[in-house]
């Protein structure tokens, strides 16, 4: 028997294929959470009404925003989930080192983000069909240009990807030290509830503006890619010394 000399690229490929199979629950939970999102979307995101003596008009707005928001939450949680010890140990049952494990995780999360982003946008069609079936017939929908559609897909995928990167980073911190289990939610809630009072929520608003209020897609793309790269690479660096099994 000879010694085998594996290349990192080769092992990452194998690990990626393995994870697509092994982490199938991640996709199952996506289906579930998006169905929940569609259900909640039936309330509509807004409503306006008007009328005269003889005529009343009520306009309900429906959108896939809730589904997208749910998908981002799913992305964060799934990413945290795959950094947990049980999942990490699954990696180390077979051939890997920490670098290839992180790489294949990132590839998996990228795949999950693409699937999550596309399905989230496509859920509008499910909603239209359901509305037709459920008898709310008098609905209008604005036709969307192909470029807008593509930007929609792109932006949603990037948001979901950012969600996974944030989740992966938080999960890695928690693996390094359990104190982050308390610290991360503490800081977040503190910033939202308390910080909002004392600092007028400036920091939070700035972050929100930076990520969510970008009107140029190209700029948004660059910002997002930089953020995601930073988060993933720092997670990989932090976990490079982690002991397993």
């Amino acid at each position: 028997m000879s010694l085998s000399k594996p290349s990192t690229f080769n092992i990452v490929k194998k690990q990626y294929a393995y994870k697509l199979q092994a982490y199938i629950q991640v996709f199952m939970s996506l289906v579930f959470i998006q169905m929940l999102g569609i259900l909640f979307s039936f309330n509509g995101v807004g409503m306006s009404g008007g009328g005269s003596n003889t005529l009343g008009v009520n306009v309900h707005y429906y959108s896939a925003d809730i589904v997208i928001a749910f998908t981002i939450v799913w992305a964060i949680i799934s990413a945290i989930h795959i950094t947990t010890q049980a999942y990490r140990n699954d990696d180390f049952v077979f051939v890997t080192n920490r670098l290839s494990s992180n790489f294949s995780n990132i590839l998996f999360l990228l795949t999950a983000s693409i699937v999550g982003g596309i399905t989230a946008i496509m859920s509008t069609y499910v909603m239209k069909v359901l509305m037709y079936v459920l008898g709310r017939t008098e609905y209008l929908s604005s036709p969307i240009a192909a470029t807008e559609m593509i930007i929609g897909f792109g932006a949603t995928i990037l948001y979901v990807l950012l969600g996974t990167a944030i989740g992966y980073f938080i999960g890695t911190l928690v693996q390094l030290n359990k104190v982050f289990v308390v610290l991360v939610p503490g800081v977040l809630i503190g910033m939202i509830v308390l910080g909002a009072g004392s600092m007028n929520g400036e920091l939070l608003q700035a972050v929100f503006k930076f990520i969510f209020m970008e009107s140029s897609f190209a700029l948004f793309f660059i910002k997002n890619v930089i953020l995601v790269t930073l988060l993933f690479s720092s997670s990989a660096l932090l976990s490079n010394r982690l002991e397993v099994r």
Partner: protein, 298 residues
């Protein structure tokens, strides 16, 4: 070629030293038994060799490379223990298929034959298996991977006697057909002693004995006789174990390093000699305190 080379290896866990300045080398294509009491540092040592854990100080080299976070070591080493966890979403058959893609020397036919022999069901889930079945499945993965360094940590946990026997036989057969370095840690030395070439005895994280198994068998000898005679005879000798029998008799285990003439003299003094099994020697050598459990119940 040395497969494992340890020099002054130390691992500290929350204040206590699980491994304490451990130095040894393991040569290629030998079956070595890693023996030690609970908490002697066996599992810690194996996990460091597998590259899962980092040493606190000292050096360890596997195939002349540092094992921690090393892809080359990971590809040529497999570590099997009873706390393996496989992804819950995959069936047993799928797990074997995945393992086949990772290990270059994987023998899928052997894996499937063992799989059938131990009557696993392809669609079963790993988590639904019983303890012994899990160990058996781990063993199939460990054997079929044919890694140059194969480590089994308490592989027989939960297995029944028949499966244990089958396992040892399978291990030996596959080793003869495809020689490789095997490290086997176990509490049941009497079961595996015929399998082992070398023995590495750990005590409190240190190497206590590292010798061929054949040497260990004649390493110590037991002598029994009247207390006074035994006491006189064991003066200036390395006593490994002492036990009083009844009121005036005593049993002593000592290093077997004296001449036939000395033995003859001892026999004249009324001592009877008996061989000591390797597993008893190991128990005596690694006992943490003087006396035994009897001394706890005063």
């Amino acid at each position: 070629m040395n497969v494992i080379d340890c020099r002054g290896l130390t691992k500290v866990y929350g204040g206590t030293k699980a491994l304490n300045n451990l130095s040894f080398t393991i040569e290629e294509n030998k079956i070595t038994g890693l023996i030690g009491r609970n908490g002697a540092g066996k599992t810690t040592l194996l996990k460091i060799i597998a590259g899962f854990m980092r040493e606190t100080s000292g050096e360890v080299e596997v195939f002349s490379e540092k094992p921690f976070n090393n892809l080359f070591v990971s590809a040529n080493v497999i570590y099997i223990n009873d706390q393996m966890n496989f992804p819950t979403a995959l069936t047993l058959k799928e797990l074997l298929n995945v393992a086949a893609t990772f290990y270059e020397n994987w023998d899928h036919e052997l894996a499937m034959r063992l799989f059938d022999y131990f009557s696993f069901h392809p669609a079963q889930l790993y988590n639904d298996l019983s303890k012994g079945m899990k160990s058996t499945f781990n063993m199939i993965v460990g054997l079929s991977a044919r890694c140059r360094l194969t480590m089994f940590d308490e592989p027989t946990t939960g297995m029944d006697a028949a499966v244990r026997k089958d396992f040892y036989r399978a291990l030996l057969k596959d080793y003869l057909a495809y020689p490789r370095t095997i490290l086997l840690s176990s509490h049941h030395l009497n079961e595996i002693e015929d399998l082992l070439e070398d023995i590495l005895l750990l005590k409190d994280g240190k190497e206590f004995l590292h010798m061929p198994m054949a040497d260990l068998k004649g390493w110590a000898i037991g002598a029994q006789g009247l207390t006074a005679n035994v006491k006189e005879w064991i003066q200036d000798r390395e006593v490994i174990h002492l036990k009083t029998i009844g009121l005036d008799r005593m049993y002593a285990v000592v290093r077997n390093d004296f001449s036939e003439y000395e033995k003859q003299k001892a026999r004249e003094a009324g001592l009877t000699f008996s061989p000591v099994s390797s597993s008893d020697v190991c128990v005596y050598l690694t006992s943490k305190t003087k006396g035994g459990i009897d001394d706890v119940f005063i």
